[in-house]
Symmetry: C2
Subunit: 177 residues, 2 copies
């Protein structure tokens, strides 16, 4: 169903992070080509945190998606289930704020998870505007498996950048978690 196909697509294009140019400059023998080696860079792109972070984020998400492809769970879905699992009864607003998701977006995410019988929206008795979010029984056992796979993904990260570097990175970015 539409996401499986995408997961499959991503699984296909895989290997090292970026298809670093096997050969770089095409046949153009135009101006200013002082660097006759094969690397393009040395460019001023190094030293830009945003660029490195973006590339890393793409890599890490692709690995997450690939590692959890069998259960068809994407990072955002995982984070939603994790938060609900740890704090049953939260409203959609609360979950959205916690995860920095827009409540508009959460609607579709929950629709999907609810259709898969992983999460249930229970009408709150005290505030009839809001829904209390809970994992279903199936959702709870499923989440346990998701967490095992997520842990495997984290091991991939550690392999990629080093165990200590991963921990240092988590520490540096702890303010954003």
């Amino acid at each position: 169903m539409a996401r499986n196909s995408q997961a499959a697509r991503i699984t296909k294009s895989r290997a090292g992070i970026r298809p670093r140019p096997g050969r770089t400059r095409s046949g153009n023998g135009s101006v200013h080509n002082d660097l006759m080696n094969d690397e393009i860079g040395l460019d001023a792109l190094a030293g830009h945190a945003g660029y490195a972070v973006r590339r890393f984020q793409i890599w890490i998400f692709q690995d997450f998606i690939r590692t959890l492809a069998a259960v068809d769970i994407r990072p955002t879905q995982y984070s939603v289930m994790t938060v609900i699992g740890a704090n049953p009864g939260l409203s959609q607003m609360a979950v959205a704020k916690r995860l920095g998701i827009e409540r508009a977006r959460l609607v579709h995410l929950l629709d999907s998870l609810e259709h898969r019988d992983l999460v249930s929206r229970i009408k709150s008795a005290t505030d009839r505007r809001s829904h209390a979010l809970h994992l279903t029984a199936r959702g709870r056992t499923a989440l346990a498996q998701f967490k095992r796979l997520a842990a495997e993904h984290e091991r991939h990260v550690a392999e990629k950048i080093g165990k200590e570097n991963r921990e240092r990175l988590l520490q540096i970015l702890s303010a954003f978690t």
Copy 2:
């Protein structure tokens, strides 16, 4: 022109990274609410590199966009101009590979930059399929200003996570640059 309005939009919604919940759980007094404090978390979301990186990446891009809003340049546009500026004459394929962008996407990016007279596509004489990419005179002076603003953005990053942490992070992620 369509992007200015978006930059303005982003500029508006601003402050600390995330609107951390002032009040958390809504009025629902439902099941399992063992934690009576105001924080939702303590959840298992800590320890997940991908989540922290995603949040950080969002923050850093928003700051970049905001800092360069006056010149209406987004991160991807900046990276394209930087690579072309450092390696004049590159083909679109070469730039796409270097930046991990699809060549299909680069077409629109270059269309935009070319319309703004920042970049020019010059038909290669040696390979008539490809275009040699160059900055225009206007593009060169513009890029110099962009780089000054980008440096200001980097200072924001350093303020946010600490100067040493920023450098450590750049070092950890250097493989992805």
